[in-house]
């Protein structure tokens, strides 16, 4: 296992807005990492840094290269889908295949065509004639046929209906992913992808709120569902988030053991979606101050992000 992305102290400001504020993380090969955060959390900014599309402060190494200075070489090993609908609308499907074949040394046209043959996309169609879902399928067909080591997906299924979304991720997992490859996905639709992630990074207001493998989450976080009788006792154990569901209360704890919680009610690991909401809205959320607030707090939050790995 090798380190695919190594980010140290990434910062980026758009005017007064600090899109990224001292963010550090690393991504190992063979992982599927979800960068999850609300809109404006800095997800796209982080990806643009990784792809060498935008400038930033801090150190960043992608596949051992500097994305700012070695962008062109890096792009042979890195693919990305920025979001749906960035394929040029005037382009014909056939031309898209011709183009990628002409410029990308790792493109396997037969593979892309094979994938397209399983869809309703015709080679003579122009992108503008395709539905949003079909454009995504086409883009996916192009990307899947490129033998890249890192695939970056920025909100890849935005605006797609459920069928296309499901199909998109199934294809990604079944036809593309293997131990040699790494996938980095940003999204704010957590439920969609949580079953396929191996790692999560929660990002809010330019700070990392949580960075963890999915396996490690149950060791640190537990969700307890209690009836009204046990609620006050459950609260004594300092949950950082609680939510009432059908008369029962779900509480999320950090650093509590199964044994401590079990007597009070039903204990299970929180879903990534629940944990995300808890982190964003719960007690911890205060640890990431708004961009204009004091400068002391951000470094603490970044530290927390690192420590949580």
């Amino acid at each position: 296992m090798t380190t695919v992305i190594e980010a140290r102290n990434l910062s980026k400001a758009y005017g007064a807005n600090r899109a990224l504020d001292g963010v550090s993380f690393s991504v190992e090969s063979g992982r599927i990492v979800g960068i999850i955060g609300p809109n404006g959390a800095g997800k796209t900014t982080a990806l643009k840094g990784i792809l060498g599309l935008a400038d930033f402060d801090g150190d960043l190494s992608v596949l051992g290269r500097n994305p700012r200075t070695e962008r062109n070489r890096l792009m042979q090993d890195v693919c990305f889908i920025a979001d749906v609908a960035v394929l040029p609308r005037w382009m014909r499907v056939r031309n898209a295949l011709d183009y990628v074949e002409g410029v990308h040394p790792r493109f396997d046209r037969a593979r892309a065509q094979d994938f397209l043959s399983r869809t309703d996309i015709r080679q003579a169609s122009r992108v503008r004639e395709l539905s949003k879902g079909m454009v995504t399928q086409l883009h996916l067909a192009l990307i899947l046929a490129i033998d890249a080591r890192l695939l970056v997906l920025d909100e890849p299924t935005l605006g797609l209906d459920l069928l296309y979304r499901r199909q998109f991720y199934d294809t990604l997992l079944n036809d593309y992913f293997d131990k040699e490859r790494t996938i980095l996905i940003t999204t704010h639709q957590v439920e969609e992808i949580e079953h396929l992630l191996t790692d999560v990074i929660f990002l809010a207001r330019g700070h990392i709120m949580l960075s963890s493998t999915v396996e490690a989450i149950p060791d640190r976080y537990l969700q307890l569902t209690v009836g009204p009788d046990n609620l006050s006792r459950a609260r004594e154990l300092h949950p950082f988030y609680e939510r009432e569901v059908f008369g029962r209360t779900a509480l999320i704890y950090e650093g509590r053991t199964q044994r401590e919680l079990e007597p009070l009610g039903e204990v299970r690991p929180p879903s990534i979606a629940d944990l995300f909401v808890a982190k964003m809205q719960g007690r911890d959320a205060g640890r990431a101050p708004p961009a204009s607030a004091s400068t002391a707090a951000p470094s603490a939050a970044a530290g927390a992000g690192e420590a949580s790995r």
Partner: protein, 323 residues
């Protein structure tokens, strides 16, 4: 190059076995032709119009001027040379005019549209450098399109001349307006003229590419913004250095020697006619001195400026982030 690309790929990832040879520049040029179809359609439309014109001309001329043919073998050689040269020059000027308009819109759009529709994120996901991309657009504007237009025009001239010369089934025979020597000379002249014009306007083309890479909106307005400076100069200083200079740069400055040729091109046949036979090709080219156009130092200064604009366009495309 492909071999070294393979080596580098193999070095980068040992597990990698396949690295298909690519043709990036050719592919980039193809992309421009797919995206900007006006580049190849517009000259064909002009040609179609010219050929339709030739069909009418043939029908009309043979009826309107039956006397000039009469019992003569055909028009005199100088008339034929004049008309052949005239056809080449007229067709060339019309095609050049349309090409200028098409290339103006091409140059202002080619780096702007991809940002406007965000497809730049797709282009940038491919291992193609910004320098190569910008260069491909400059090659389209400076070499591929002019060459294509030249060839289309050449064929059009031949077809139109052929149509005019089609014999009638009955009635008076058509005008034979063809002079092969004059045609060859006029085509050679046109070619040098075109090369000089393209090089002369290279800084303008590069400037438009830079504006196209830079403008966030209203790319046409930005392209025309130097005109505002002219007005400012007028009002603020009461001078017109800028407008004089711009007019020189935008005008046919590469023809510093061109007018002289023009004269020779048209008067040549008369001199020849008085001298008897048409001069051999070598003498004609010697008389034209086409290379003299390259002696204008402003042409070369302009090319250096174009290189600077291109460099800036590459930088802007590389580092501008407005998606």
């Amino acid at each position: 190059m492909n071999e070294s690309a393979e080596l580098r790929a193999a070095a980068a990832s040992p597990s990698e076995i396949r690295a298909v040879p690519t043709r990036p520049m050719l592919t980039l040029l193809k992309r421009e032709v797919w995206e900007h179809s006006a580049l190849w359609i517009a000259p064909l439309i002009v040609s179609a119009a010219l050929i339709v014109g030739a069909i009418f001309a043939r029908a009309y001329l043979t009826r309107a001027m039956p006397i000039s043919i009469g019992d003569m073998a055909g028009p005199g050689q100088n008339i034929r040379a004049m008309s052949t040269t005239g056809a080449v020059v007229t067709f060339g000027v019309m095609q050049s005019f349309v090409m200028s308009v098409v290339l103006w819109f091409y140059a202002t759009a080619c780096l702007y549209n991809e940002r406007r529709d965000r497809s730049i994120l797709f282009w940038k996901s491919m291992p193609v450098s910004d320098a190569k991309t910008v260069l491909s657009k400059m090659l389209i504007a400076l070499a591929a399109t002019p060459l294509y237009v030249y060839l289309v025009t050449l064929v059009t001239t031949l077809v139109a001349s052929g149509i005019v010369a089609i014999p009638r089934v009955s009635g008076p025979s058509p005008l034979n307006m063809w002079d092969g020597g004059a045609w060859l000379r006029a085509e050679a002249f046109s070619f040098v003229w075109l090369v000089l014009a393209v090089l002369w306007y290279a800084p303008l083309t590069a400037y438009l590419l830079l504006v196209s890479a830079w403008a966030r909106r209203n790319v046409q307005l930005w392209a025309l913004s130097p005109l505002i400076l002219i007005i400012v100069e007028r009002i603020a200083f009461g001078t017109h250095y800028l407008s004089t200079w711009l007019l020189y740069r935008l005008g046919p400055g590469w023809q510093a020697r061109g007018e002289e040729w023009f004269e020779r091109l048209f008067t040549g046949p008369f001199y020849n006619a008085s001298g008897g036979s048409s001069p051999p090709g070598g003498q004609i080219f010697a008389a034209m001195e086409p290379l003299k156009g390259f002696e204008n130092i402003d042409l070369w200064i302009g090319l250096a400026v174009a290189a600077v604009f291109l460099y800036l366009a590459v930088r802007v495309r590389r580092y501008r982030d407005d998606t």
